[in-house]
């Protein structure tokens, strides 16, 4: 047996050929995940990857851990039962925007409120890839796809706001094109005790190429994104020339020529109200003057985990009633004898 502290990313690769399209953002996520697991030093035998259906959901086949490739939308439910049964395991849910926000939307919100200690990697590419290009619940209104030749009519979901609305205890956003940031967030999610919802912007170069280009392209990235860090003022831009200030409950962009860092919004991930404001920084960044899209941990809190509470109830029941005796159970409280 290999000592988990000596793992490298390669130790997590399987003998299966990776079958995503060349150029897919999933490759980057797989690589960062393998690196993160190597660094985490958890024994491979104690790790389970659970996925639903979709391109991203092939992920477990490529991780040399235990894994379930389940059915569409249900990975979150499957993982809940697994974690309830086996609190000792490190459980990772791999899901996409269709899998977790459309067909599996119900299970996602219930997982978040129950707060099982597991991690959800939500690969958001704003499209259905495996079924060859229909709009998804995160596609912007008006998006032209195979199923919406005249443009989508749906108002899109904002996954960060949705997660906060479901009382998630760890809400973060990262992207496939920023491996370093992604590893940082994956490690933070792993360390968090409770359900970590990690949304990853992931480019589908076949059916929705460039959906996040404004956040990744050198020309626009600096102005349209902000990396938020705990305790740090909100400064962004190629030359750190912009800042964000809170004017009451309203976030506004200021020029650092007119302001000092002391005037700015200092990120506090324990503040639910401010996290809500951050999650609503969801402007269409193609437009001039919009707020940048935040990347990082928007919100984090320590709240009881379902599996811990479940275990406590069982222990309490045993302390009050004693270890279950099968004959007492079968017999019940009232019996009579026939001679």
């Amino acid at each position: 047996m290999q000592n988990p502290t000596t793992y490298t990313a390669k130790d997590f690769a399987t003998d299966q050929d990776v079958r995503w399209c060349p150029g897919c953002g999933d490759y980057s996520i797989l690589k960062q995940m393998q690196s993160t697991m190597a660094e985490a030093g958890i024994n491979k035998k104690d790790i389970v990857f659970v996925s639903g259906i979709g391109c991203s959901s092939r992920f477990p086949y490529y991780m040399d851990t235990y894994g379930i490739h389940s059915i569409h939308g249900r990975a979150t439910a499957m993982a809940s039962g697994l974690k309830a049964a086996r609190p000792d395991l490190s459980v990772w849910v791999i899901t996409g925007d269709g899998d977790s926000l459309s067909i599996g939307g119900n299970h996602l919100i219930h997982l978040l409120r129950r707060n099982f200690d597991l991690n959800v990697l939500l690969f958001n590419n704003e499209i259905y890839g495996l079924t060859k290009g229909q709009y998804s619940p995160t596609s912007p209104k008006g998006q032209v796809t195979k199923s919406t030749p005249m443009g989508s009519l749906d108002h899109p979901f904002n996954p960060q706001a949705l997660a906060l609305g479901a009382d998630a205890t760890f809400v973060a956003r990262t992207m496939d094109r920023d491996p370093k940031h992604m590893r940082e967030i994956l490690a933070a999610g792993n360390a968090h005790k409770g359900t970590s919802l990690i949304e990853i912007y992931q480019n589908c170069n076949v059916f929705n190429d460039g959906a996040f280009e404004v956040f990744t392209d050198k020309a626009t990235k600096a102005k349209s994104t902000i990396t938020i860090r705990e305790g740090e003022p909100m400064i962004y831009g190629a030359d750190s020339e912009f800042g964000i200030r809170l004017n009451g409950m309203k976030a506004e962009v200021v020029s650092m020529n007119d302001c000092s860092a002391d005037d700015l919004w200092i990120h506090d991930s324990s503040d639910r109200m401010k996290a809500t404001i951050l999650s609503r920084m969801f402007d269409n960044n193609a437009l001039e003057g919009g707020l940048p899209r935040p990347f990082g941990i928007l919100y984090q809190e320590d709240r009881f985990r379902y599996e811990d509470a479940m275990k406590a109830q069982l222990e309490h029941a045993i302390s009050v009633k004693g270890d279950g005796d099968l004959d007492a159970l079968i017999q019940g409280s009232h019996t009579w004898t026939v001679d």
Binding site: G81, A85, H110, T335
Partner: protein
């Protein structure tokens, strides 16, 4: 005036009233008392789908039927001898079940003009007063008024007082059947220990009802049903859902597994969840999921982690679980699915019984996804059938469905319960981190002679593997689109079920000779009615036999041969003909269907008549 006591072999009483009148409680307390007197008992609650349907209407009538006897009985009785009618609607809904010369105990307060109108009686004249009930003996008691009078000084409000009136009826019946009030008194004392005024009120009214019978000169005779000649031993009373829950806990324990029960509330399966949730000190983990799909998926997740995953529902919920069941068939892991059937299709008749989900159990999944089906035939049989179902799902690494229905789920009977030590252990086929590797490779879908794969769970060193719903290569479990492999895997999954026939008991004849004129073949909750009908016909000299099938997929190996010894095979079912279809399709038996689809169980008389047609 002296009161005489008449002996009776068996009595069927139907307690009927508004769904808020407490008839279910009255019935079950009277049942408990009779059980303690050693009667054989069978009960059948029958209530509306609405929790509080409009008061006074026929739709809102809740009934509890109780058959108790000094002889062996197997059904809650065909015809009713005593009908307790708390109001006009209760009478109207149930009077057709009352046999000629039967007794009606009527609460006259429930027969005022308003109640008559709500019950849609055409005339203003109470049926208690016109001639329509001449063929019955009518006992009129103003239960409402007497309850009020008994509690005049209690200080309780009208509402609380009115809630006690069922205890008056119960007290009266305890007197009428020569029973002590003790069992009921201790129940009341325990239940209302924290509400002393309610406790005292119920005890007062109970006694008032009892003494009313004793002192009132209208009632000159009491009845007595002597204890039944049940096999000696220790007994308890048990309901089907309760027995299923206890069976699940015991079976999980016998397999050395933690029980994980994922469930979403649905009638009539919820009581299993309630029962299991009470037994956390047995290590039972109950999880009330957000929906039916999550319930089964969480259970699959738990099984993947090495627990015994179990989920329950009724028809509509089972439909929702279909895709996940298919996944469990593909994963080849233990999973127990309980279907407490009710009237369908769609929402159907939620509180009524039916056997209409057999085809759903057999075929209700996409692709060809066979699983094991085990059915229970009477309330206490839910325990044994559950242990058997768990044994198969665990030892054969295949999902199993346990079938019961609303009739046996809510029905109760005395149970000569087993000792835990007498139940044989269940042996999972665990993988072994040392021995399961060949050349450092693990083959998660390598099989033994039963085609059963090993159960490797997270935490087992070096056995990391991935499973999923995509077709997989045999042995390696890798995703495979190979045409020949797919055909092989579909055949293997079927053969795996077929081979289980080698590991279940042979079908037995329940009563009668091994050959003859008619074999009545049943499954599930028709057991009691068939048993009574066949017993009576055998007594009359007919060559009739009964066989009741517990294992529905696969069928016992000898079933075809067993049926071939009879001129005719009759298959009574509470559906439009499902087992009969499976039997005739598989064996070409030419079995004759007999169907009732009224949300109600067969009476033994109905079955007897039908058998006579075939003799």
């Amino acid at each position: 005036m002296t009161k005489t006591t008449e002996k009776r072999k068996d009595v069927t009483i139907l307690f009927a009233g508004d769904s808020g009148d407490g008839m279910q409680l009255t019935g079950s307390l009277f049942t408990d008392t009779n059980a303690h007197y050693g009667n054989d008992i069978s009960t059948f609650p029958n209530f509306p789908a609405e929790i509080r349907a409009p008061q006074g209407t026929v739709a809102g009538v809740s009934g509890f039927k109780l058959h108790f006897a000094s002889v062996d009985i197997f059904t809650p009785g065909d015809e009713v001898e005593v009908l307790v009618a708390m109001n006009a609607a209760a009478l109207k809904a149930n009077v057709s079940q009352l046999k000629k010369g039967g007794t009606i105990i009527a609460n006259t307060a429930g027969f005022d003009k308003k109640n008559l109108r709500l019950a849609k009686y055409e005339s203003d004249v109470s049926p208690l007063l016109d001639k329509t009930l001449d063929q019955f003996r009518v006992v009129e008691i103003d239960v409402t008024k007497m309850t009020k009078e008994a509690l005049a000084n209690s200080g309780l409000g009208t509402k609380d007082i009115d809630r006690c009136k069922n205890m008056f009826v119960l007290g009266f019946l305890l007197w009428m059947y020569n029973r002590s009030m003790e069992t009921t008194q201790s129940f009341i004392t325990e239940k209302f220990s924290k509400k002393p005024d309610i406790k005292d009120a119920n005890l007062t009214v109970l006694k008032a009802g009892y003494y009313f019978g004793d002192t009132n000169e209208t009632f000159t005779s009491r009845y007595e049903v002597e204890s039944a000649n049940l096999p000696s031993g220790e007994y308890r009373s048990i309901m089907g859902n309760q027995a299923a829950a206890l069976g699940a806990i015991v079976a999980a324990n016998k397999a050395g597994l933690e029980l994980f029960y994922g469930s979403y509330p649905i009638t009539p399966a919820s009581d299993i969840l309630h029962e299991l949730a009470r037994h956390k000190n047995y290590g039972v983990k109950t999880f009330q999921a957000e929906d039916e799909i999550a319930a089964i998926c969480a259970s699959i997740g738990a099984s993947f982690g090495g627990s015994l995953g179990m989920t329950a529902s009724s028809g509509p919920g089972i439909a929702l679980k279909g895709e996940a069941m298919g996944l469990a068939v593909m994963l080849e892991i233990p999973l127990l699915i309980i279907n407490v059937q009710r009237g369908g299709p769609s929402t159907g008749l939620p509180t009524k019984t039916e056997q209409s989900d057999l085809m759903q159990a057999m075929y209700g999944r996409n692709g060809e996804a066979p699983l094991v089906i085990v059915s229970a035939s009477h309330p206490s049989d839910c325990f044994d059938a559950m242990v058997e179902a768990v044994r198969i799902t665990v030892e054969h690494m295949i999902p199993a469905m346990f079938m019961s229905d609303g009739f046996i789920a809510n029905g109760s009977e005395p149970w000569s319960f087993p000792k835990a030590a007498d139940i044989s252990s269940i042996t999972p086929r665990w993988a072994d981190p040392e021995k399961s590797l060949s050349d450092e490779t693990y083959f998660p879908f390598r099989r033994n002679e039963k085609l059963v794969r090993e159960w490797a769970i997270p935490g087992m060193e070096n056995l990391q593997h991935r499973v999923g719903g995509l077709e997989k290569e045999n042995e390696t479990g890798n995703v495979s689109y190979d045409p020949d492999n797919h055909e092989l895997m579909v055949k293997i999954r079927q053969e795996k079920v077929d081979l289980i026939a080698n590991h279940i008991p042979a079908q037995e004849i329940a009563q009668g000779d091994e050959s003859g004129s008619v074999l009545v073949l049943g499954w599930g909750s028709t057991y009691g009615a068939i048993r009574t009908a066949v017993r009576d016909l055998i007594k009359d000299g007919h060559k009739v036999s009964q066989a009741h099938v517990r294992y529905l997929n696969p069928f016992p190996k000898n079933l075809e041969e067993l049926m071939s010894k009879f001129d005719r095979v009759l298959i009574p079912e509470i559906n439009n003909g499902q087992l009969v279809h499976l039997i005739n399709a598989k064996y070409g038996t030419g079995a004759v269907p007999f169907n009732k689809i009224q949300g109600m169980p067969f009476t033994s008389r109905e079955i007897k008549e039908q058998i006579k047609e075939l003799i």
